[in-house]
């Protein structure tokens, strides 16, 4: 318990994480951490292994080794349903809205795993459009932006403390990106801890406390938001932009 209350100890500590899809070895010893209440962004080119990292934390990747500690508890051998029950929630890159569920069913699908999740009216404060679309017959009939909001909204109810968000701004219009930025800052104020994957570091700089840069399944650099400007050239280099 003392470990969990210590603000300096990371909520999520990942060490020497390796992961495989079948025979292909994707993560080669990634080490990073996220402290309670922080927004940490994982940057990196296409195929660097960012999504695989989130999936490994969530327990979705079949074969993984190293250490993933959440609140002092080791997750590396746990099944994803048990990891979710500890208070980790995942918002996938492809959003994962279910076509055979209506909007409300999609929103209410993830079970509450702990006390302290956002009540529905708070969620509708964050995403007013969703409230209007509740009656919609099919989750996948929503626009891309609305689907992204739904994918975030549904994991806020559950009481999860650590949110894993995979490229929430990908392919969305600037106004919607702004709204998602606003939401992430609001969530941070609420005390959520967020590990964010982004390619768009302009967007990331509006929400993140710290950054890690990933390449070929390894963390190759790290810096704080205040150091962003000093690192811009390097970043352009890393990300090839």
């Amino acid at each position: 318990m003392s470990v969990m209350l210590d603000r300096a100890a990371p909520l999520l500590a990942v060490e020497k994480l390796e992961a495989w899809y079948g025979e292909s070895h994707i993560l080669h010893g990634a080490t990073f951490d996220v402290r309670e209440g922080e927004v940490v962004t994982l940057l990196g080119r296409n195929g660097a292994g960012k999504t695989t990292t989130l999936k490994s934390v969530m327990g979705i990747v079949g074969k993984r080794s190293g250490s993933v500690a959440f609140g002092g508890q080791e997750l590396i051998r746990m099944s994803s349903n048990d990891i979710a029950r500890l208070g980790v929630a995942f918002c996938p890159e492809e959003r994962g809205i279910f076509a055979s569920l209506d909007v409300e069913e999609n929103l209410l699908l993830p079970p509450v795993v702990r006390a302290g999740g956002l009540p529905l009216d708070r969620i509708f404060d964050l995403f007013p459009n969703l409230k209007e679309r509740l009656g919609s017959s099919q989750g996948t009939k929503l626009s891309g932006g609305e689907q992204q909001m739904l994918a975030i909204a549904r994991i806020l109810r559950t009481g999860a403390r650590l949110l894993l968000l995979d490229e929430p701004t990908e392919g969305l219009a600037p106004v919607i990106i702004q709204q998602i930025g606003k939401t992430i800052r609001a969530l941070k104020e609420q005390g959520f801890t967020i590990l964010l994957v982004e390619q768009n570091f302009r967007f990331a700089s509006t929400v993140a406390d710290r950054y890690y840069v990933m390449e070929h399944g390894r963390i190759i650099d790290r810096f704080a938001n205040s150091e962003l400007d000093a690192n811009l050239d390097k970043l352009h280099d890393y990300l090839g932009v």
Binding site: N81, F90, P92, F98, P111, I155
Partner: protein, 294 residues
């Protein structure tokens, strides 16, 4: 009395009722297949054998003095548990593979189960008497309705629409539908999807066994009673569209009725009409009447 196209109404309604009864079994069995296929991605060829096991379990229970009414509940549970064992031992190893492997494995299981029962009990059929409360019948004026047959239709309708309701309208159903689409993500929300899959198979098998208990007083309890039926049921499933719950129910009852009417108007075709419809549907709408093409 009036006649319809030269057919006496007694014969017409009699065949219609027979069609509805066959349809009740088609619907229950194809519903179980659809539920199993949706969650497990496996075409459960053992379904006919499991239907037969339901009838036999009712027969065995009777030897212990346990009658029809308790058997309606107990037999599906017992056979459902054998399904759970099969899923844990064998089927769970096949989910990553092509449908064909599940079909071959369950086909093999069906042959083994039927072979064992035939070895033990021959193929002449064992009698199972009707529950006393449902013997006799009612004269409806235009036809005579045997009580037991009416009960079969009503119970099948209740079970089918109950299952539909749970899947389409409840929270548990939302988990099932979501897990059919993306089991990995549903699991990452904290749902024990593997356990849900196991229980779904047990439930689908239990539905087959329930149909078997319902069939026991009508047809003799016979090791091969499911083998013939399941071929027709697969045709029903192909026509309705694999994996659609409502499709399985509507197609099951509908084809039973069509088959019954064919017996009245064109008896020569009554054994083949379902397969003819299947061929036409496959040509015009390969995903089935209610299936989603993808």
């Amino acid at each position: 009395m009036f006649e319809l196209l030269g057919i006496p109404p007694q014969a017409l309604f009699g065949q219609l009722l027979l069609g509805l009864i066959n349809g009740s079994f088609y619907a229950l069995l194809s519903l179980g297949l659809a539920v199993i296929f949706g969650m497990l991605n496996i075409i459960n060829f053992a379904h006919g054998a499991q239907y037969m096991m339901g009838a036999f379990t009712a027969f065995f229970l009777l030897q212990f003095g346990i009658g029809y009414w308790p058997a309606l509940i107990i037999a599906p549970i017992i056979v459902g548990i054998t399904g759970i064992v099969i899923e844990r031992l064998f089927l769970q190893r096949l989910y990553q593979l092509d449908h064909l492997y599940g079909l071959l494995l369950t086909f093999g299981l069906a042959l083994i189960i039927q072979g064992l029962f035939r070895h033990q009990y021959g193929s002449s059929g064992l009698p199972y008497s009707m529950p006393a409360q449902l013997s006799g019948g009612h004269n409806l004026g235009f036809m005579f309705l045997p009580n037991y047959r009416g009960w079969v239709v009503v119970l099948s309708l209740i079970v089918c629409f109950g299952t539909w309701f749970v899947i389409e309208k409840t929270k548990l159903g939302a988990y099932l539908r979501a897990a059919t689409e993306n089991p990995t993500l549903v699991r990452a929300f904290g749902i024990n999807v593997p356990r849900m899959i196991t229980l779904t198979y047990g439930f689908g098998v239990g539905l087959a066994a329930l149909a078997g208990v319902m069939a026991a007083p009508i047809y003799a309890v016979n090791p091969l009673m499911g083998a013939d039926l399941i071929i027709v049921v697969f045709a029903v499933v192909v026509i309705g569209g694999m994996g659609s719950i409502m499709g399985a129910i509507v197609t099951g009852f509908g084809l039973g009725v069509i088959e019954g009417l064919t017996k009245v108007f064109f008896p020569e075709a009554s054994n083949t009409v379902i397969f003819v419809i299947m061929a036409i549907v496959l040509l015009l709408r390969p995903a089935g009447l209610f299936g989603r093409a993808n």
